[in-house]
């Protein structure tokens, strides 16, 4: 899922300077799971913003609403009857959600309460780590299910590099060397043959931004009358 982290409060305060009526919009999907922008986190943030305003003698009202997701128009539509009353919207969604909200309610300033980090998994309560770079050409079949584009800091396709250090990466001694992991995994699976071939340079055209994808089931098809 998408993993995000709430911005430090002073950054959010700086964005809200001069605004009085604030609506915090939470998201009940990815960012709720990683405890950054779900209903509970929105409640916490609202409490903090109210307390800060009161301590500094600033007039401020903070209301809260959490919708299922901010990346689907149907859920954003639910905000239509509220949005007009507020000076500013603070979205606790991921970058995609903030933008979609801003697009939908383009006469209101929409601010991001989160920093979107990566596509990742939960290692345990409270810790998430990146697994996928969305590179559009998955080669996990050839690397034993370990992604060199993501786990290798240098995204090498023919690794490891000379910086590999007892299975750890030279960039961060806490991080594992992707290619040592790949080697060990394929060794365990008895498929080291997959590493014999030289991988060709990555096709970065597949990752051109901004990406756009239409499902085959929704293509226009010619029909005969």
């Amino acid at each position: 899922m998408i993993v995000a982290q709430r911005k430090p409060l002073d950054q959010i305060e700086a964005m809200l300077a001069g605004f009085e009526k604030i609506l915090i919009v939470g998201c009940g999907t990815c960012v709720a799971v990683c405890m950054a922008g779900g209903e509970k986190e929105v409640e916490l943030l609202a409490a903090q913003l109210r307390m800060k305003a009161k301590l500094e003698g600033k007039p401020r009202t903070v209301d809260e609403i959490t919708i299922t997701r901010q990346c689907d128009k149907e859920y954003l539509d639910q905000l239509a009857r509220f949005v007009a009353e507020y000076d500013v919207i603070l979205s606790a969604g991921c970058g995609a959600g903030v933008q979609f909200l801003a697009e939908r309610y383009d006469d209101k300033l929409v601010l991001p309460a989160l920093n979107t980090l990566f596509i990742g998994v939960a290692e345990g309560p409270g810790t998430w780590s990146q697994r996928c770079t969305a590179c559009s050409e998955c080669i996990l079949d050839q690397t034993g299910g370990i992604c060199p584009m993501t786990i290798c800091a240098k995204n090498l396709l023919n690794g490891p590099c000379g910086g590999t250090n007892h299975g750890k990466c030279e960039v961060d001694g806490e991080k594992d060397c992707a290619w040592t992991l790949i080697y060990r995994r394929l060794e365990k699976l008895g498929r080291l043959d997959l590493l014999e071939k030289i991988q060709a340079p990555k096709n970065y055209a597949a990752m051109a931004k901004p990406g756009r994808y239409s499902h085959e089931a929704f293509q226009q098809a010619d029909t005969q009358e």
């Binding site: 800091a153 240098k154 000379g162």
Partner: protein
């Protein structure tokens, strides 16, 4: 006409190269002094490429400076800072400027250098870069286009004989050879027995292997490298030897150690040559070579 460096493997039994690092700035007076000092004592002079991710003059420019002073340059090219267009362009530029040998490296990550917020490129890795050199040598670029004039680079790569685990390293070594590496300069070695074992398991056909020799200037430096540099292991007895030196004279012991290793590598025919690295102490390289006689 074959360049002096590749040709030296034909003429001699044991080839010696050294290394210079470009300055961080435009003042190349010191650099020129080192070039003049070393150019006639070695068969090739590597020029590092933003080594350790610290921004410096490019290897390309300094290789040309070496040629201007009558030396034999070896271009070091890393994948960290340039995408495949820039890499191919740099290679064509090098050829046109008279540089005929290139060492293809992945490159350190940006975080270890002085611009840690830079965008790391790594569009290609060292194996793909070697393949690219091979393509340019055939008059083609990576997209399959024909070139108006081709290169004939003598391409090399790096290997770490004491990598742990060693198997992924050996796998990559074989890929580098398959991709066109014709010479290897290894990461620094200090244990000749381990090196001998390493040399026994590597393919020797079609490739010249040069052992990397890094000058130790003190016991402290040796311990630092053991702790911080992957793949380098200075054995205890050498650290002992260094720490027993008189105050301020540890570097002389380091020179003696380096000379001793080179002598043994050469006399016992353990490899095809040595690559001497004395970063910050380039002016002592002649002493190392003398100690090796």
């Amino acid at each position: 006409m074959v360049a002096a460096f590749p040709e030296s493997f034909v003429r001699k039994n044991f080839v010696v190269t050294a290394e210079v690092g470009p300055p961080k700035g435009t003042d190349i007076a010191q650099l020129i002094h080192h070039i003049e000092l070393l150019k006639d004592k070695v068969d090739g002079l590597n020029v590092t490429d933003n080594q350790s991710s610290v921004m410096r003059i490019s290897s390309l420019a300094i290789c040309r400076v070496i040629l201007d002073h009558g030396g034999e340059p070896i271009l070091q090219l890393t994948c960290r800072d340039r995408n495949r267009l820039a890499l191919q362009s740099e290679l064509l530029s090098a050829w046109v400027l008279g540089i005929k040998s290139v060492l293809c490296l992945t490159g350190d990550y940006v975080s270890v250098g002085d611009h840690p917020q830079a965008k790391p490129v790594f569009d290609l890795d060292s194996v793909q870069l070697l393949q690219t050199v091979a393509l340019l040598n055939q008059g083609k670029d990576l997209s399959g286009n024909d070139l108006s004039g081709k290169t004939d680079f003598f391409a090399g790569a790096v290997v770490t004989p004491e990598a742990d685990p060693i198997e992924p390293q050996m796998l990559k070594f074989r890929k580098k050879l398959a991709a066109g590496a014709r010479f290897i300069q290894t990461q620094a070695i200090y244990d000749l027995d381990k090196f001998r074992e390493f040399m026994a398991r590597v393919p020797r056909d079609g490739v010249k292997i040069m052992a990397g020799i890094v000058l130790l200037t003190s016991a402290g430096m040796a311990k630092y490298m053991n702790k911080n540099v992957p793949g380098i292991f200075v054995p205890d007895h050498l650290i002992q030897e260094l720490s027993q030196a008189e105050k301020g004279k540890a570097i002389e012991v380091g020179i003696r150690i380096a000379g001793r290793m080179i002598r043994e590598l050469r006399d016992k025919k353990l490899c095809d040559g040595v690559h001497v690295m004395a970063i910050g102490k380039e002016d002592r390289v002649p002493d190392i070579l003398k100690a090796a006689q």
